[in-house]
């Protein structure tokens, strides 16, 4: 019996040492690698070990037991990051019971089986920021996820990533002014105008500020808002028109908030203030033919070169699909941004590293560097050419689409 014990321990020792060698290693060889953070590499190799990038560069010897993915002449880029992604959620997104719902976590409602995930992966997006609906003034906490795994817990990278605030006319949609108190129907509620929206925003931050010193804060809503006041959770403000953006800036100055603008369709009119305050911007749904701003009674012609102007002035610009399932995908959005006047490198950064930095997950995704997650997109040609196809998507080292 003793002999067996010895044999067993010996075997254990051996496996411990060789184990790293045995760990699943894949190597991706490609004609051209755009690392985004550094210089593009021609005929380089990326070594991937259990989901992370172990080494990247030219002339790296590939261990024999590695599975080699030869991408031939095609171009390799880091997986795209969509900072205002379509929501893979079943059922209604908006909690109509009250206009201020900061405690609402969209991560509870994630649906890994949602059909949207498969479509998003095929466009090369490997990291998504999902925000709650747009019918409430403060609609809740968004989450950063990866489109993989079959239960929500396996998808989440960073929960409570940001608080979503909507300041454009969306929250007033569907509300009716109560003719007689008490309001009979659920929808007889307060914000009928933009003034009311701003008032409610100020009021909730004011209450949070009052309660900031009493520990522990009894009302969970105000607890979240006080964390926001202490800049532990960033705020994503949904604003389209210039006057709304300026109003948001006022509220931010009053309470010293760190803002990030979503959609920001008329951002070019306030480009300088955004640059001064170093406020990053996530540009919303992209149209091939940008006509009027949305359908909320604000039909005004919009400048097509919004992204180019903001980038030129030094604002951190990220391109997102804006939460609309069938708009143009994120790579085509970058191509059309360049067509309308944005700089090429700025556009490529706008779909990879910039949104990663805005969401605070830049240490894991956004570019091809050692130690980062192995999220790789293989394209059939120059990324900003309309006839280029996404050939393969690698997520955490595993091929999820080809």
């Amino acid at each position: 019996m003793r002999i067996y014990v010895i044999l067993l321990t010996f075997l254990l020792l051996v496996t411990v040492f060789i184990a790293p060698g045995w760990a699943e290693v894949t190597a991706v060889k490609a004609g051209r690698i755009l690392t985004i953070s550094g210089e593009p590499i021609t005929d380089g190799v990326i070594l991937i070990e259990d989901g992370k990038i172990a080494d990247i560069g030219t002339g790296i010897e590939i261990p024999e037991n590695a599975t080699v993915i030869d991408a031939g002449k095609s171009v390799v880029m880091p997986g795209f990051v969509d900072a205002s992604a379509v929501q893979p959620v079943r059922g209604d997104l908006n909690e109509q019971s009250s206009e201020i719902t900061p405690t609402l976590r969209i991560s509870d409602a994630l649906d890994p089986q949602s059909k949207v995930i498969k479509r998003v992966v095929q466009t090369g997006v490997t990291t998504l920021f999902i925000s709650p609906g747009r019918q409430n003034v403060i609609s809740g906490l968004g989450v950063v996820v990866k489109p993989t795994g079959n239960i929500p817990q396996q998808m989440i990278i960073k929960d409570e990533a940001a608080l979503t605030v909507v300041m454009d006319m969306d929250p007033t949609q569907g509300n009716r002014i109560p003719r007689r108190e008490p309001a009979v129907n659920f929808y007889y509620r307060r914000p009928g105008t933009r003034m009311a929206i701003i008032w409610m925003l100020r009021k909730s931050f004011f209450d949070a500020q009052q309660q900031a010193d009493t520990e522990p804060i009894s009302d969970p809503n105000l607890a979240i808002l006080s964390e926001v006041l202490k800049d532990e959770i960033p705020i994503h403000v949904n604003a389209r028109r210039a006057i709304v953006i300026r109003a948001a800036l006022k509220v931010a100055d009053e309470y010293g908030l760190k803002l990030i603008f979503q959609e920001c369709t008329e951002g070019y009119r306030v480009a300088e203030q955004l640059a001064e305050r170093k406020i990053p911007v996530v540009l919303g749904p992209f149209y091939y033919y940008p006509g009027s701003i949305g359908q909320y009674r604000e039909g005004r012609q919009v400048n097509w070169n919004n992204a180019g102007i903001l980038a030129e002035v030094g604002v951190k610009v990220a391109l997102g699909s804006g939460g609309q399932p069938d708009t143009i995908d994120i790579l085509t959005a970058a191509t059309f941004a360049v067509r309308h006047g944005m700089d090429r490198d700025e556009a490529l950064k706008a779909i990879t590293i910039t949104p990663a930095e805005i969401l605070g997950v830049a240490e894991r995704v956004g570019s091809l560097e050692k130690g980062k997650d192995a999220d790789i997109v293989v394209l059939s040609g120059d990324p900003l050419d309309v006839t280029t196809r996404v050939e393969k998507v690698i997520l955490n080292g595993k091929t999820v689409y080809q």
């Binding site: 959620v89 079943r90 209604d92 997104l93 909690e95 109509q96 405690t103 409602a109 890994p112």
Partner: protein, 389 residues
């Protein structure tokens, strides 16, 4: 053709005479049957069951029959224990064509579904012929916290010993159908937020006058079972997250797509009350229950009557066998598994000594819809007998 019918009429007449003759004071009865499916210890061919005072005193091949008791000869019949329906809404005052249940209050934890049950309703009488002897009456899935289900026997003629459990637990629903457009919650995230909020409040609840939190407190602390409606994979995942967070003694209801994460359900050994298979028609959906049972999940069946007929609870189990479930698991699902899940396994679920004498007598293999139910006995009394019209 006429002669055969007359003969069976004679036999049935004799049985009912000697059984009903005993009338109300319970006596000792002995039944000899071709096949007795005891469920817990195999099938006894040509065995005898001794019923005394509504309980099964003995069952086996050679059992000493006390004198003065004539043996009822059912030698060409099969006997199975009374079928148990995991979830149904029979006899509730709700009109089947309007809303299934109370939808004004999202949290109705203190509502006892038994108060809405009408024991003399026509549906209950009609259901006796289906071989189902015990049911769990449950509220629907339109409320995040629907109320407290009850376990009752269908023979409601006696005073009130037909109520086995006035409150068998609390019913939760994480399905999208619980979202209403005109009352809280209206979004999926809001639904889960609301349920967690209620459970948090229940955790910190001391004595007080809030009946709702009183019940929820027993769920969180004193292991009162929680029946959770969840159909799709993400609904089951949210249910499991809540079960882990508050370590509830939970049962999954419906779990229609549970086969895709059956290993996680099995790991937490969560029992599942599966919806009737007749509601789905695609092969892919019909094979799900077989796969789920294959990876070790304990299953019971529900008819969700009146959405499907109580007679078809047995058909639903047989259809599951046709699409991959093994026969043993199907029969158990209708009897002992359901009894264990509803917490009445001490009295029901199998033909073994000491258990209630709920028996169903069929003229053929119980796992064939073509074999018909000849007689149903609850607590030793005949509640249904098939007479040739």
């Amino acid at each position: 053709m006429i002669k055969k019918r007359f003969l069976s009429f004679l036999i049935v007449l004799s049985i009912s005479l000697c059984l009903t003759s005993f009338g109300n004071e319970p006596q000792v009865i002995a039944i000899r049957a071709g096949k007795i499916w005891t469920v817990t210890d195999g099938v006894i061919t040509d065995g005898i069951i001794i019923v005394d005072n509504g309980k099964i005193r003995a069952v086996g091949q050679e059992v000493d029959v006390p004198e003065g008791v004539n043996i009822l000869d059912m030698s060409d019949k099969n006997i199975i224990p009374g079928i148990i329906d995991g979830h149904c809404h029979i006899g509730l005052s709700l009109d089947i064509f309007s809303e299934m249940d109370e939808t004004v209050a999202a949290i109705a934890a203190d509502m006892l579904i038994l108060d809405a049950f009408n024991p003399h309703s026509k549906d209950v009488k009609k259901a006796l012929s289906s071989g189902v002897t015990t049911v769990m009456l449950a509220p629907g899935y339109r409320n995040p916290v629907g109320g407290q289900p009850a376990v009752v026997k269908l023979d409601t003629s006696k005073a009130n010993d037909w109520v086995l459990k006035r409150s068998a637990g609390v019913e939760f629903s994480l399905m999208n159908q619980a979202l209403m457009f005109d009352r809280e919650p209206t979004s999926r995230a809001g639904l889960i937020e609301l349920v967690k909020e209620q459970l948090n409040e229940a955790k910190v609840y001391q004595e007080g006058f809030n009946p709702r939190l009183e019940v929820l407190n027993r769920v969180v602390d004193a292991n009162l079972p929680a029946y959770i409606w969840a159909h799709t994979v993400d609904e089951i995942a949210s249910a499991m997250a809540i079960i882990d967070q508050y370590n509830l003694n939970a049962v999954l209801v419906a779990a229609g797509q549970g086969d895709e994460i059956a290993d996680m359900i099995a790991k937490r050994d969560l029992p599942v009350i599966y919806p009737p298979l007749l509601l789905s028609s695609k092969d892919k959906d019909l094979k799900r229950v077989g796969k789920m049972a294959g990876s070790g999940v304990k299953l019971a069946f529900a008819s969700l009557a009146p959405r499907t007929d109580l007679n078809d609870l047995r058909t639903s189990a047989i259809l599951a066998v046709k699409y991959g479930l093994d026969k043993e698991a199907a029969l158990k699902g209708l009897t002992i598994n359901a009894a264990e899940i509803l917490g009445v396994a001490d009295r029901l679920g199998s033909i073994s000594e000491g258990k209630d004498a709920d028996l169903v007598i069929l003229n053929g293999d119980p796992l064939q819809p073509a074999s018909s139910i000849e007689m149903v006995i609850i607590n030793g009394n005949i509640v249904y007998q098939r007479l040739e019209e």
